[in-house]
Symmetry: C2
Subunit: 282 residues, 2 copies
Amino acid sequence: MLESVTIVGVGLIGGSFSLALKDKGLVRNVIGVGRSADSLDKALELGLIDEVLPLEAAVKKSDLIYVAIPVDATVPVMSQIMDWVSDRQIVADAGSTKKALCESLAGHPMRSRFVATHPMWGTEYSGPEAAVHHAFAGRTCVICEKEKSDPEAVEVMEDLYRQMGMHMVYMDPDSHDMHAAYISHISHITSFALANTVLEKEKEDEAIFDLAGGGFESTVRLAKSNPAMWLPIFKQNRDHVLDVLNEHIAQLRKFKSCLEKENYDYLQELMDNANKIKRIIK
Amino acid sequence: MLESVTIVGVGLIGGSFSLALKDKGLVRNVIGVGRSADSLDKALELGLIDEVLPLEAAVKKSDLIYVAIPVDATVPVMSQIMDWVSDRQIVADAGSTKKALCESLAGHPMRSRFVATHPMWGTEYSGPEAAVHHAFAGRTCVICEKEKSDPEAVEVMEDLYRQMGMHMVYMDPDSHDMHAAYISHISHITSFALANTVLEKEKEDEAIFDLAGGGFESTVRLAKSNPAMWLPIFKQNRDHVLDVLNEHIAQLRKFKSCLEKENYDYLQELMDNANKIKRIIK
């Protein structure tokens, strides 16, 4: 059991991580750090954290410092934290991009105390109220640059995540970012764009949403996601996201061209091919 | 209570309609009609229907004939059924497009016995095993060209759907098809295209799906939908679907252009705008 864990950013991910630690009896005391006093009060009230401290004081008294804030803010905050930690402490992040952060820490003298992790879970909600129990169970956790972290620090993180029900996958940061672009980031862009498509129509036809049902909801729900979290992800992962977006637009154009040319054999083929996703998504 | 109802096409929609009739005690006997003997056996076994008959025999002994087969097959089958019905029987369909069918029946001498309906519900599954209890509860049902149907026939259908928990919306067929293109058909195309985008990547990177999680699943699940149902919908609703698809590609291009030009203020604006969908989707 860890004596004390600091969560920097007690929102959807940080709050859910804390709940999992507590539910599994993996920690005695959780310290919350954040920019918004309201948010921290809420986190205390919800039992996500046990106390609130300024960053430096929190870092100094923690076995593990877990950073779950937007990926652009993570870079400078993590560098600051790393300046404060000793070789008996562990620092980890939960960010949706890995390359920029890993590069920024590459030359840090305490690099080996940092473990780059990405628990692959999320919802379209944010803030401490969005934290839920058993969030990570059954999900994949990516660990990057395992070889640059002290084996003992990696083991501690693997053990925590495994006890939360996750299984580990190891990747270099650039592979992680490319995979995340295909499997997560593009889904958000298509949802945002679909929402805008229909909201645009609503300007001339106010009743357009009258028929909205289950299918629409599931494809558009990610459009409710917090831009403060997603803008930095798209920024840091720009190259990979652009690659996937170009490919996705090309795929949509095939559907468009089939309809324009009334080439229904090829349209059938495109849908038959898409059905192969059944192999992946049960 | 209806004495006898024929369901033509005992799959996802027809089967769920039958279950709802039975659950609410609205019918004594349900007759199944379909092309596949296996499917009809399954429907009998699952209790979706009470007996199987050839179309003409089934029509002749039913108070209501409910057609829930792919929209291209609906046109000739419905015309055949209408030739057989008397003015004491009611015929209704559940199709996702309305214009082609309504036009095809416009001059039929029995037109007033037909009620054009579209219960707005569905899943990515198909066949009798996909039928579920309480499917339509809380959903919208569209009725088109109400004025062309006998008021008493419309009332029967409204009453059945209301007892299943649906609320009615009235539209002309072309408006229905346009709304359906925005609220349902485009979601299927984006899902099919997203599945193809990632499946294409899998050809060079077999591990691409390793990180697939909840967000990806919800945006891509409609890609499992049955092409035999969706191809005819896209065909019949080609003009509206093309309009929406063009608009959607234009919206995606805005995201692409923001990333290419690193115009992050506008990217933020696009996401802020998409967040307005919270007003619609709780």
